[in-house]
């Protein structure tokens, strides 16, 4: 399986996701934001970090990078595109997934483990994951997902919510919502479910020595689904 990770100026989880993808069998290539062409890929990842220093609005400048036109075309033709954290912020700015990401409700950066409940498994990202609940890790200042009521209705009607913040038993309640996201949304799909944007970092959970191992589950499953 071939993957590509885009490096924007200010990306800082590009190495982490590169390590994770390779660990689980992807042949990964790093792609510079100013390139025009995407290498042939089965998966494109927009990594976390602070592309363009979060200036103007998180993700907004990166969404206009030269490479992004190819990424958008790739996504529109059914290619798998995953945005993690700042990558998610870039995805909403391109309009590939609906909604926006506001500043965290308590106005502070949060770095901690969270639990997320998988809402939909009829897609290549979560199909065949045995668990209902995964322990992931978040590290962000602007992860407060917001959209209009009409958008929310459409998202729910199409089953576009990927994961919701919850407790270890899968209970989705306000007290388990770290950032104020509407409906505890931690990640969403586009309509076709080939594009996934999510705030948590599965690449930081790929080793028992780290924060946990549920990221390994996610990547192992992902590469199998793509085969």
């Amino acid at each position: 399986m071939k993957s590509s990770v885009i490096t924007f100026p200010g990306s800082n989880c590009d190495r982490d996701i590169d390590v994770a993808l390779k660990k689980f069998g992807f042949k990964n290539k790093m792609v510079w934001h100013a390139d025009a062409e995407l290498p042939k890929s089965d998966l494109v990842v927009l990594p976390g970090g602070f592309s363009y220093g979060d200036y103007l609005r998180c993700g907004s400048m990166a969404s206009k990078s030269k490479i992004m036109q190819s990424v958008i075309n790739f996504a529109n033709s059914g290619g798998m595109v995953m945005g993690i954290c700042n990558g998610f912020q870039i995805l909403v700015e391109t309009g590939l997934v609906p909604g926006v990401l506001l500043r965290n409700k308590y106005l502070e950066f949060i770095c901690k483990n969270v639990f997320v409940k998988i809402n939909d498994k009829k897609n290549k990202y979560f199909k065949n994951v045995d668990n209902e609940v995964l322990e992931f890790h978040i590290a962000h200042n602007e992860g407060n997902y917001f959209c209009t009521n009409d958008q929310l209705k459409e998202i729910e009607d199409n089953n576009q919510i990927a994961i919701n913040y919850c407790n270890e038993n899968g209970k989705i309640e306000d007290q388990f919502n770290p950032n104020g996201s509407i409906k505890n949304i931690a990640g969403i799909f586009n309509k076709e479910k080939n594009v996934l944007g999510m705030m948590p970092h599965p690449e930081r959970m790929i080793d028992t020595s780290l924060s946990g191992e549920d990221g390994s589950l996610f990547f192992k499953n992902l590469i199998n689904n793509l085969k």
């Binding site: 100026p9 220093g53 690449e203 080793d207 780290l210």
Partner: protein, 730 residues
């Protein structure tokens, strides 16, 4: 402007210093030259009051590749890997403007590390605030934490450990010390020594603006009512540019075109160019019209003294300019050839085709003032005798809860949750333990780091306090299973012109030197911050020690939380019952006098090294050093983190229960072992003549003391975790 004595005094120079400048130059300096002298000769850059004493610190060792004198210290961690590290203060700016002050402190220390070719892999910090009741404290704390996070998070470098304290002596002068560790290949370390004639001098990074002019002079003065006016001397940070600068520099460093590189930190272009010339015994000629400027009509004076952030000065091999420029273009950073190295041994500056400065480099560096300031020795205070009636009515559990909720002991999760501590994917011990630990990427090795200070002990008796801080750093590294290698120090004190403050400095340094010599834990880098005082009132002496150690196999790392019910808990090291200057004495008994606990270096070394042996033999399940709040506080924290209880039986020796539980005797660790390993462990401890007590057995969820006192871990956990969150949300 014609320079005169008054203008020199306004620049923070003393009368005799100005006279010396005129004598060295054999003429009156012009204003640009005066600015350069004032920047180079202030306390922050010249170490004029401290140099004499810092010379006494042990700085060499088998593992030391580079000691003090470079941008940062470098130690060997085997297999051609080396760790570059340093701690630095940003106290004055952080009090004036907490967000930018703290942020640029973090930015500055990271630059010191990647200037040497190392990729930063971990940040730490030691931050100290006034009393929680002081009306400024909350905003300063919030601003500093946001600033540290704002910069470090954006850079993508994990903040893995730190220390926060509150004390009314910091009411008018908070302390913000930032530390960074970087990883480099031993054969790819870059230094700041220029070499060769007619080599191009390159400016890279951000453009120069008017921010931070005279920042270093501001950091060398005391505060008074007018501090608000100093806001414009605080630099403004841009972590995004620094991230680009980091990547661009490392990309350039992968080749072989750099002769010397130096970041523009305090005193900007002035100190960076002069340091490179001085170390290379060369001259430097700069055309200031070539310096990329952010604002129009900047004068030579402003350009030379600006402390705009995220800039570097490089001496390049001839003919490599184009190749280097391509890299900086790729990262959208300024790149300008601004001058060349010369044989004149002078710093010669040109602006609008006129020579605007002409100063022999040695007058700025070797001839800079050095003072043997007067200082006063601190006598060891007399021991207090605790009266039985003072403690008779005290309940152990109430005191324990109070101590766990004390601002200096309570959980700092509110702070470190705002720092990205997991980016780079190698953090295997997060903040909240004895030391932070990161793996050396792609290897079995890990590096542990901690930062410590004990202002109360240093205040009570600087010599003992100085020793104690080094020992605490040593213990914190050992507690996670790391072999301590070297330290960096950030020496925060009041005015060196005050005999008592100077005495605190001299004796703390003596104590640090003695301990680091004995423990073979040399000082490889550091920074001195004097004048932490408002009007006549100085802070408590606060040397902060950043220690670094190596874990050869990261799977052997130890954490502090209790692991298993029925495990046996031991105290390594002897408890003598020293209560003076303990948290218990100061906060429960309200007794602020007396000596700090004695430091026995033999025991420190022996106990620590023996514990490392036990760890190496896989006999230790968890470990934690005993510090503030004594034995019971250490045990309670291990219980809280592990969500386990313990059944404690006080050994039957002389001292009473309160002294046994709350004393802050040094050289002690709490360890958890498997019952079946007891004989093996006891044998090793006995063979090495290490005193130990059996403290008790791990239980489900309560702490029992001598079967008569009981408290649930949930209760203790609430005491420990709620203070800071509540304080910040009020």
């Amino acid at each position: 402007m014609i320079v005169n004595e008054q203008i020199a005094i306004d620049h923070g120079l003393k009368k005799d210093e100005y006279a010396k400048i005129c004598k060295l130059l054999k003429r009156t300096p012009n204003i640009t030259e005066l600015g350069i002298f004032s920047a180079m000769w202030n306390e922050h850059c010249s170490y004029k009051s401290s140099r004499l004493h810092l010379k006494k610190l042990p700085t060499k060792g088998k593992k030391v590749i580079q000691g003090p004198g470079e941008n940062a210290g470098v130690i060997d961690i085997e297999d051609n890997d080396a760790i570059v590290f340093k701690i630095e203060s940003h106290n004055h700016p952080s009090f004036i403007e907490p967000y930018q002050g703290a942020a640029t402190g973090v930015g500055g220390i990271m630059r010191d590390v990647f200037t040497m070719g190392a990729r930063p892999i971990a940040n730490l910090n030691s931050i100290h605030f006034g009393s929680p009741q002081n009306k400024k404290t909350k905003n300063l704390l919030r601003g500093v934490v946001h600033g540290i996070g704002g910069y470090g998070n954006c850079m993508g470098v994990p903040t893995i450990a730190g220390q926060t304290s509150f004390d009314s002596s910091y009411n008018g002068n908070i302390l913000v010390n930032a530390m960074t560790l970087g990883l480099v290949k031993k054969n790819k370390i870059f230094y700041s020594k220029a070499a060769g004639l007619n080599k191009p001098v390159i400016y890279v990074g951000s453009k120069t603006g008017r921010d931070g002019i005279h920042g270093a002079s501001m950091a060398s003065a005391s505060f008074d009512e007018k501090i608000e006016e100093k806001k414009p001397t605080v630099q403004v940070g841009d972590p995004f540019t620094e991230k680009l600068l980091l990547e661009a520099c490392l990309e350039l460093m992968a080749g072989d075109s750099i002769i010397a590189i130096q970041d523009m930190g305090a005193a900007g272009l002035t100190s960076s160019s002069i340091e490179m010339a001085s170390k290379g015994n060369l001259g430097i000629e700069i055309n200031l019209n070539k310096v990329p400027c952010r604002e129009s009509k900047m004068t030579p004076y402003e350009i030379m003294l600006s402390e705009s952030q995220e800039r570097m000065l490089i001496v390049l091999e001839n003919g490599k300019e184009e190749q280097a420029k391509k890299i900086f273009d790729k990262w959208n950073l300024d790149f300008a050839v601004i001058g060349k190295t010369t044989k004149s041994k002078k710093i010669e500056l040109y602006f609008d085709e006129e020579k605007v400065a002409d100063i022999p480099v040695n007058t700025l560096v070797e001839n800079s003032p050095m003072y043997d300031r007067k200082w006063k020795k601190t006598k060891l205070p007399k021991k207090n005798k605790i009266k039985k009636e003072d403690i008779k009515h005290l309940k152990i559990i109430d005191s324990l809860k109070k101590i766990l909720a004390n601002p200096n002991v309570c959980s700092k999760e509110w702070i470190w949750q705002q720092y990205d501590h997991t980016v780079m994917g190698d953090t295997i011990q997060k903040p909240g333990g004895d030391a932070g630990v990161v793996r050396v990427h792609g290897t079995d090795k890990a590096v542990a780091a901690s930062v410590d200070s004990s202002a109360v002990y240093c205040w009570a008796h600087p010599l003992t306090g100085g020793k104690q801080v080094v020992c605490e750093s040593f213990r914190n590294l050992i507690s996670v299973g790391a072999k301590p290698i070297a330290i960096t120090n950030c020496l925060n004190f009041g005015s060196p012109e005050n005999e008592e403050n100077m005495g605190e400095f001299v004796e703390c340094v003596e104590g640090i030197g003695e301990a680091s010599e004995y423990l073979k834990f040399p000082v490889v880098s550091g920074n001195v911050s004097f004048y932490n005082q408002t009007k006549d009132e100085g802070i408590k002496p606060t040397p902060a020690i950043g220690g670094v150690g190596l874990i050869k196999n990261f799977k052997k790392m130890i954490t502090m939380e209790f692991k298993e019910v029925d495990s046996l808990v031991l105290v390594i090291g002897k408890t003598e019952g020293h209560i003076d200057q303990s948290l218990f004495a100061r906060n429960i008994l309200d007794e602020k006098n007396g000596p700090p606990p004695e430091v026995n270096l033999f025991n420190e070394k022996n106990n620590g090294e023996t514990l490392l042996k036990l760890i190496d033999n896989n006999l230790i399940k968890s470990a934690h050093d005993v510090s503030l709040g004594g034995l019971i506080t250490a045990v309670a924290k291990m219980c809280i983190k592990g969500k386990k209880g313990i059944n404690i039986k006080k050994p039957k020796y002389l001292i009473n229960e309160i002294e046994y539980l709350f004393a802050e005797d040094q050289g002690r660790y709490i360890v958890e072992i498997n019952k079946k390993d007891f004989k093996k462990v006891a044998d090793i401890l006995n063979k090495n003549a290490v005193h130990f007590d059996e403290l008790g057995t791990i239980t489900e969820k309560n702490i029992y003391i001598n079967s008569k006192t009981k408290v649930t871990i949930d209760e203790l956990s609430t005491s420990n975790k709620s203070w800071l969150t509540n304080y910040m949300s009020k």
